[in-house]
Symmetry: none
Subunit: 222 residues, 2 copies
């Protein structure tokens, strides 16, 4: 699981970010100041960096960071309240890998983070039992042999596998995998689970991975 470092001084915004990101399956480190951020850099796979910080401008931190050889390839995503074109360019040329102006939508943030993680080769892997998911390549392997999964199948499987043991209702899965704007029936989930089970070659009654909890939902076996 990739670790993201969120550098943002305002607690409300930081909390919102933490929520959105952890919900999307990332591990989140937090820092309110440039100093705090510096201490945690070594653990991070990606940095979400606010433009304004109480002790030092975000850009300045970014410069220091790039000069340090250890963090040369660490992806940085800038957050800025300024909407001017000039600022964007400045942020980029000074070393940010991407930027986003507030206010931004959560899906867009997630998409950009995914893109950056992909580029840096740390898109993340999930390995559970004989199942291996490569989020970066969108590819799954079962006991070493490649599986051909569609987008929904992959996303659903990845989501469940990210939280093994935990039960999710169909409604919860629809909201988290399909998105909040999906307006269909809950049975759609069943259909995709069935598809997955077929490709995973598992019997619904003796599941190796995807358990059904009657009246509750689905769960990835621990």
């Amino acid at each position: 699981m990739p670790k993201l470092l969120v550098v943002e001084d305002e607690p409300a915004v930081r909390m919102g970010l933490r929520l959105s990101l952890s919900r999307a399956g990332h591990q989140v480190l937090e820092a309110a100041t440039a100093t705090e951020a510096w201490e945690q850099l070594s653990q991070a796979d990606l940095v979400v960096l606010d433009w304004m910080l109480p002790d030092e401008p975000g850009v300045r931190l970014l410069e220091r960071l790039r000069r340090d050889g250890r963090y040369e390839n660490l992806p940085v995503l800038m957050l800025t309240a300024r909407a001017g074109e000039g600022d964007r360019v400045e942020g980029l040329t000074r070393g940010a890998d991407d930027y986003l102006t507030k206010p931004f939508s959560t899906p867009e943030l997630l998409a950009r983070i995914q893109a950056l993680l992909r580029r840096s080769g740390k898109g993340g892997r999930i390995e559970r039992g004989g199942l291996a998911l490569d989020l970066e390549r969108h590819q799954a392997r079962l006991d070493g042999e490649p599986l051909d999964l569609t987008r929904r199948e992959f996303d659903l499987l990845a989501f469940l596998a990210r939280h093994p043991g935990r039960v999710y209702s169909r409604e919860e899965l629809l909201e988290r995998v399909w998105g909040p704007e999906f307006m269909g029936t809950a049975r759609t989930v069943d259909q995709h689970v069935a598809q997955l089970r077929e490709k995973l070659r598992e019997d619904p009654k003796l599941p190796r991975f995807l358990e059904t909890l009657r009246g509750v939902g689905y769960r990835f076996r621990e």
Copy 2:
């Protein structure tokens, strides 16, 4: 028992919320204005916050609250009448932990509250004697060994175990575990208690967990 603070100016809605929530086993504090809410914050484990308030927008209250160090980790669930995607995102990034657009269903509200309490470490696990219940995994263990419980069995056991020592009449259990719309006989409870006792390997006469109080109801042993 977790205390929920409901901040909602419309008396009818507030009353409905109080009813649903207390019925679900929560203790409910109420506030009609942001000012009232502020006074009771220190007692709350979670806040259900309406978007619109007479004296101050809910979002504003939320911001103040997040700035105050004491409430940094207090879960807040926003209620909003607006359905636009933009508002949702805004509510979240401004510090709400979750949101719900009116009109919403009671079960969904309860589910989300449960999720939040769980996340903040105030829901989630129940451990009593050799019995351990993990609500989010929907899994029960007796002296370490996993138990296979059905949905009703699990819900009933979880409810009783949440309030050890307290007696509940069959009618009360039906209302709280089965739901207010259940229209059956009270003996149904006995049946499920019997099932549970069998799976818990306990003698009805010498119960380890589920005591019968003749003429009164059932109780989880302290």
